[in-house]
């Protein structure tokens, strides 16, 4: 069986937990976020006929990038960065998060979820912000509410994890 450790990273309130909630097998309640700072979920995806178990470490969102639990990122095979399209600062901070996470986990495959696309009327990103995000690669426009883009994002990451993308 193939298992991969995947960390969900993003500042407070970007919807990391909501993103995975309907799609994963959850055993632990959200209160672990406030106590331990992380909650473990599981998502099984099928990549080219092989089942890959993504063990999702849903890291508690903090107000800044400084104190995301770096020791939880250790050994991660992949990372999902989550930003909130209605709050520009959450997107801007992704760069800092990327730096902190790369320092802890190394240059592992990653995807970026630009969440809450169902709220486009409250969109707070400039064209430049968005283009900067696109430049990072592996960008998925997702909605935890409607489920749009979520499955595709997990599948893409799993595919890269099984056959690592060059230069990821």
């Amino acid at each position: 069986m193939i298992q991969k450790k995947v960390c969900m990273v993003g500042v407070f309130g970007t919807g990391k937990t909501s993103l995975v909630q309907q799609f994963v097998h959850t055993k632990f309640t959200d209160k672990y976020h406030s106590t331990v700072g992380v909650k473990i979920d599981r998502k099984v995806v099928n990549v080219a006929g092989t089942d890959v178990t993504l063990v999702l470490w849903d890291l508690a969102g903090r107000d800044s990038s400084e104190d995301i639990g770096a020791s939880y990122l250790k050994g991660a095979h992949g990372i999902i960065y989550v930003g909130d399209g209605t709050r520009r600062d959450t997107v801007v901070q992704l760069d800092d998060l990327l730096r902190v996470a790369t320092a802890a986990a190394g240059a592992v495959p990653s995807v970026t979820a630009l969440n809450k696309i169902d709220l486009t009327d409250q969109w707070a990103l400039s064209v430049e912000d968005y283009q900067a995000l696109v430049k990072r690669g592996g960008l998925f426009r997702t909605s935890a509410k409607t489920g749009e883009g979520v499955e595709a994002m997990f599948l893409q990451l799993a595919t890269w994890l099984v056959a690592p993308k060059a230069g990821a």
Binding site: M1, I2, Q3, K4, K5, H25, K27, F28, Y32, V36, G37, V38, I40, D41, R42, V52, T53, V55, W57, G69, S71, Y72, K74, G75, A76, H77, L161
Partner: protein, 585 residues
């Protein structure tokens, strides 16, 4: 004088003691220098000690006696101060020891309460009363019960579950999540109390009745979920197991990228950690399971017993067959473990014991045999012996039957053979004499053709005539030749050959005429035959008879029938020369 004399005095002094003065100055400088170097040493000493200690242990060795002496002196003089000094070290160590003992005790007491009024509790009370051991001790002895319900092998860095073992009915469906969370909690505790991380992080924690024991290696850790109080020795088992895992899967652990397949082979190692300790102090897992041994030995014993029984039955059957065989007398038969032994008497005329054994399914080589030859009077063997003595006949196969002690010979047999039998005087045991009355002498093989030709040849006559024409004379000569050959062939064997000449007529004419005509024809042929045989050595005895039409020779065609019946035909009579006890027919 004083002003002028002072420099002079100094000059004078220099002249007088100048050399000594210089040496005095040198010594003074040296003393000053020594004082200075002690100060320098004080400044350099710590650094020097550090440097030397890094080099080797010489300094420690040199200082050890002094330090030991100083400590013991200090303890003797001011014990209070010393106790204060080491208290920070001693306190936690003592607390830890007490805590562990208490936890154990509490667990035992819980169980004691639980079992106080159960059947088990009563039996423990009985044991206490019977042995005189205090009840509490009995309870503690029995209550030290624990069961390992889960064993997880977890990759340390990623927290991914590598392998898992649990008793059959205690599966945890989300073991991979538990494994991840366990790692997260350990990380959390490690981050919170960073000092402990250096000594291996969270090693043991309790949740209600469950205790999670963690033993970690460089790459992976082993977590055991234990219900009840596991002894300290169990941690050692976990330690050995995690060492074993690292030893067995060094590369799989080092290169782990999420594929847990290689670690399926670690399953047995984990299962060894699933220990259940019940009411005795013995781990169930380590108990030797005797059942397969007992069953196996039982089967082996059964097979041996079956083989033994079969071999006994087979041997008994073979012995019975030997006893039933004429000419074999079994005196003693004994069965050994591997070989068998038979002793007895055997008549060489009968079947050999080896043949009988083989027919009964026993390999003769496996049986130690000892046979004494003897002569059996069993009729079949007596007859067999007689038959061997008499030898084969050339024609006929007479039946030999023993009646009392007389050997009866029945049926056709060649005349010379019968004559030899009749003349025989020495008989094998069991035979007193021979009776040939039911035997029929026939020509021996060498004379059968001559006999057949003689009997087939007839002397034919014209109707109503007894005169021999040329053809009849020739037939008589032929008959004479055959008769002479037969008589000559048997002359030395004690067999008397007789020729019967039978005259016949055809159906015409009266019976009396035919009767006399047939007799006339026979007489005519006899005279001619006597003439032909005269002076030629051995000759058969000739007798004549006229049968008229009473014993006609048969032929389908009436003309041919009349013709062949106007004839004289030849019959051969063989008789064995009479000897005492042998009466031929």
């Amino acid at each position: 004088m004083d002003e002028t004399s002072a420099p002079d005095l100094a000059k004078l002094r220099r002249i007088l003691v100048g050399e000594e003065r210089a040496r005095l100055d040198q010594l003074e400088a040296k003393v000053e220098d020594n004082r200075l170097s002690a100060e320098r040493l004080a400044a350099r000493l710590p650094e020097a000690i550090v440097l030397r200690a890094a080099q080797d242990r010489q300094l420690a060795r040199a200082l050890a006696p002094t330090v030991e002496g100083a400590i013991s002196e200090s303890v003797r003089r001011k014990p209070g101060e010393f106790a204060d000094a080491i208290f920070p070290v001693l306190g936690p160590a003592i607390r830890k020891a007490i805590a562990e003992t208490m936890a154990e005790l509490v667990g035992s007491i819980n169980r004691a309460m639980q079992h106080s009024f159960s059947a088990r509790g009563l039996s423990w009370r009985f044991e206490s009363w019977r042995t005189g051991v205090p009840y509490a001790a009995v309870v503690i002895k029995h209550a030290l019960v624990y069961r390992v319900e889960q064993v997880f092998l977890v990759h340390r860095e990623t927290g991914l579950l590598l392998a898992q073992a649990h008793p059959p009915n205690l599966a945890v469906p989300d073991a991979d999540l538990v494994s991840g969370m366990l790692t997260a909690i350990r990380d959390f505790v490690g981050d919170s109390f960073s000092a402990e991380k250096e000594v291996g992080g969270l090693r043991t924690f309790s949740v209600g009745e469950l205790t999670v024991m963690v033993e970690q290696g460089p790459k992976a850790l082993l977590a055991a979920v234990v219900r009840g109080q596991a002894p300290e020795s169990y941690l050692r088992r976990l330690q050995e197991t995690i060492e074993g895992v690292h030893g067995q899967f060094p590369s799989a652990l080092a290169e782990f990228e999420g594929d847990t397949t290689p670690f399926e082979a670690a399953q047995p190692l984990l299962e060894d950690c699933l220990v259940t300790v019940l009411d005795t102090d013995q781990p169930v897992g380590a108990k030797v399971n005797w059942t397969p041994w007992v069953v196996g030995l039982g089967l082996v014993a059964l097979v041996i017993a079956a083989w033994w029984t079969w071999s006994v039955l087979e041997f008994n059957r073979a012995v019975r067959a030997l006893r039933a065989t004429p000419g074999i007398v079994v005196v003693e038969a004994s069965r050994g473990w591997r070989t068998h032994e038979v002793r007895g008497l055997s008549d060489p005329s009968g079947a050999t014991p080896a043949t009988v054994l083989r027919a009964a399914g026993v390999e003769p080589a496996r049986v130690t045999q000892q046979w004494e030859p003897y002569v059996s009077l069993t009729p079949s063997l007596v007859v067999a012996r007689a038959a061997r003595v008499l030898g084969p006949t050339s024609v006929g196969k007479p039946a030999l039957v023993l009646r009392g002690e007389t050997l009866m010979v029945r049926g056709p047999a060649d005349a010379p053979w019968l004559a030899r039998v009749a003349r025989r005087t020495g008989w094998p045991a069991g035979v007193a004499g021979v009776d040939l009355r039911e035997a029929t002498p026939v020509l021996p093989a060498a004379l059968v053709r001559a006999g057949d030709s003689l009997v087939a040849g007839q002397v034919l006559f014209a109707p109503g005539s007894a005169a021999l024409d040329d053809a009849a004379a020739a037939a008589v000569r032929t008959a004479a030749r055959h008769a002479r050959a037969i008589a000559a062939g048997l002359a030395d064997d004690g067999v008397t050959v007789g020729l019967t000449l039978t005259g016949r007529t055809d159906a015409t004419g009266t019976d009396s005429t035919n009767q006399s005509l047939s007799r006339e024809r026979a007489e005519r042929v006899r005279r001619a035959l006597e003439g032909a045989l005269r002076g030629g050595g051995a000759a058969p005895v000739l007798t004549t008879r006229g049968v008229g039409t009473r014993e006609p020779l048969s032929e389908s065609d009436s003309t041919a029938r009349a013709r062949i019946n106007r004839s004289v035909s030849f019959g051969i009579r063989l008789s064995i020369d009479a000897t005492p006890g042998a009466r031929p027919r």
